[in-house]
């Protein structure tokens, strides 16, 4: 694998993890006073992180994974890792930019988040779901990496 592709794979993991960190910051600081600007920034940076992770990870997946990594996993001891985990991961990853975008726009327009508890808890639910999906994608990615050459 070339250094270019390695850097893409590392960037994909780094940017996805960064998105998780931004959204975790969003959750932790949600109920603090005068933090709407912080929440807007966290949700915006999470959205950007997932978009760029999508692009660099997609380039790696399309140009390298399919012909170089997938056959190794399929001929190894754990072919189900590709058939189940990778197939699920590559498609549920597509949810993340849209979920993060909704969270950002909702926060951007949400002047009365703190006053409206129903609205606040729905934003927390959305953020928690986005973080959970991103974490599961990360864990699946770890399993896929671990299955190469086994």
């Amino acid at each position: 694998m070339s250094y270019f592709l390695i850097s893409l794979l590392v960037s994909h993991i780094f940017l996805g993890t960064l998105g998780i960190v931004f959204l975790t910051g969003y959750l932790l600081y949600f109920f603090r006073e005068d933090n709407l600007g912080f929440l807007k920034r966290m949700s915006f940076f999470a959205f950007l992180s997932f978009v760029f992770s999508w692009i660099v990870g997609g380039y790696y997946y399309v140009t390298y994974y399919g012909h170089a990594v997938k056959p190794i996993i399929l001929s190894g001891e754990f072919p189900w890792v590709h058939k189940v985990l990778m197939e699920t991961k590559e498609h549920i990853f597509l949810f993340l930019p849209f979920l993060a975008f909704v969270l950002f726009i909702a926060t951007y327009f949400g002047k009365n988040i703190k006053d409206d508890k129903k609205l606040a808890y729905s934003y927390i639910g959305l953020c928690f779901t986005t973080v959970s999906v991103a974490l599961l994608v990360t864990i699946m990615g770890m399993a896929i990496s671990g299955a190469v050459g086994k």
Partner: protein, 104 residues
């Protein structure tokens, strides 16, 4: 403020439909090899096809639902529907690939 409500409602409903579209494209592509081949031939890779179509679905539905002015439904309800659809879609795709791998 009402205009913001309409914009946000349209974006949330479009995201719900986009996630549903991703699930449909994925499952239909696996069950119908001709469709998956069409995606590959048209977009160079089936995954790129799904990515581009999902963005187009989102961009197309947002102005349409903005025109509908969905003011009767609260933002909190729409967000919870999005959360439910995202979680169900995740479970559906995982269950589908588990079934395809171990029981088909």
């Amino acid at each position: 403020m009402q205009d913001k409500h309409s914009i946000l409602s349209a974006i949330i409903v479009s995201a719900i439909l986009t996630i549903a579209a991703i699930v449909f494209l994925t499952v239909f592509g696996e069950l119908n090899p001709a469709f998956k081949t069409w995606l590959t031939n048209t977009f160079s890779h089936h995954w790129i096809g799904k990515s581009i179509i999902s963005v187009l679905v989102f961009l197309a539905f947002t102005p349409i639902f903005y025109l509908f002015r969905l003011k009767q439904i609260s933002i909190a309800v729409l967000v919870w529907i999005l959360v439910a659809v995202a979680n169900l879609s995740f479970g559906l795709l995982l269950a589908f690939f588990l079934f395809e791998t171990f029981f088909n």
